[in-house]
Structures are given as structure tokens and as C-alpha cells.
Symmetry: C2
Subunit: 124 residues, 2 copies
Amino acid sequence: MNSPRIILLAHGSSDKRWCETFEQLAQPTLKAVDNARIAYMELAEPSMDTVIAQGVAEGARSFTIVPLFLAAGRHLRKDVPAMIEELERAHGTSIHLAPPIGENPLLGQAIRDVVMLQLEQTPS
Amino acid sequence: MNSPRIILLAHGSSDKRWCETFEQLAQPTLKAVDNARIAYMELAEPSMDTVIAQGVAEGARSFTIVPLFLAAGRHLRKDVPAMIEELERAHGTSIHLAPPIGENPLLGQAIRDVVMLQLEQTPS
């Protein structure tokens, strides 16, 4: 249990359809990575607090939060780091905040592939 | 000039770093697709209005907007469709709104790949 537990962090919304899209987005990761979880920053459950409490109870010593955000705005520059500091104190654990997924070049390539598919499907 | 011109639509922000991330995300698509452009919904330039006016001046007859959003919230369900209706009227053109990129399974696969890379880089 020494490798950090992965938490995919989505913004959260009171709109269930919005959360369902993120749950779909998370599926391939949840299947591929042991003990990975999705958590929401606000407006939906499970929260980071819930997921970290559960992980600590199961023996996890550290966590890596991967933001399901395309870019870093105020949330990732200010709100989430402040929440992490508080969560580390509350749960006595170590939490690493990874860059938002959109900063990895793989995302730009996936976007290109989506657009190419889109072009095949759009009637001229 | 009969195939629709692709517009990658990002939310926009007054934070230049935020827009730079989206410009990086758009690069592979802009390289692969003739006449594709990025546009911002608000708070940054170029706007959809600017990009569509330019496209129409260059002879484009229709546009497909691909939202660089992971999921559809209020913006994509209400604000953008209303803006599109207005833009179609103002420019006498046809604009198709594609689903947000996050609804395509390719994105979930890219997220898994990003997380796998992340795991290799995180110290245990």
C-alpha cells in the first residue's frame, strides 16, 4: 500500500447528467488503476474528504489528485490547494496535486481524433 | 468550401495562462484540419462572432462548433445554443453544435493514459 492512491477530481454539479459524463470519463482509469476513485470538488458526492477518509481507513498513506480539468483556473490555483492543506491536516496524510489533465499533450491528440471523427459524421 | 469549418470552442478567461493551455490543446487539431480555428465563449478573444465573421468573409457556408468542455452544463445547454441562434441570424450562416469532447470515449482513454504516466512519475 505504498504507492499513492489516485483520486480523479471533477468539479461537481447539481446536474446528474454532468456527473454521469465524468463517471464515464473516469471508467477506463478506474478499470486500469487499483483503488483509483473519483471525487468532486463541490456540489456532488463523493467529496475529496469522503474518499480520503475511506482511503486512510483502508491503509492508504498518500494520495495523488489528478484534476479532470482542461486548464488551471482559480479552482486549481487557489481553492483546491487550500482544501488539500486542510485535508492533509484533518486526515494526517500526504496529498500531491498533479497538473490538470489538459496540460498533458495526450489530451490535445485525443481532441484532434475526436474532431476527425466529428468531421466524418457531419453532413456537408 | 462545402465542408463545415471547425471551431474549437473554449470557455475563455481573463487569465492568459488559462487561454494558453487551450491554445496548446487546440494545436494538433489546428495542424490536422484545414481552416479550423479556436474561439472563446467569453472573456477572451477571438470570440465566436469574430471567427464566424472571418469565415463567412472567406467563403465558408457552415460551421461545426466542437466544445472543448469535458461535460455539458448550463453553458452548453443554454448559453451557447442561444448565442448560436443569434450568430446564425447575424451572419446568415448555418452552425452545428457538436457534443462536448468529454462525451467521446477517446477522452476517457486519454485520461487513463495520462494517469498511467502520472503514476510512473510520482515518487512512492
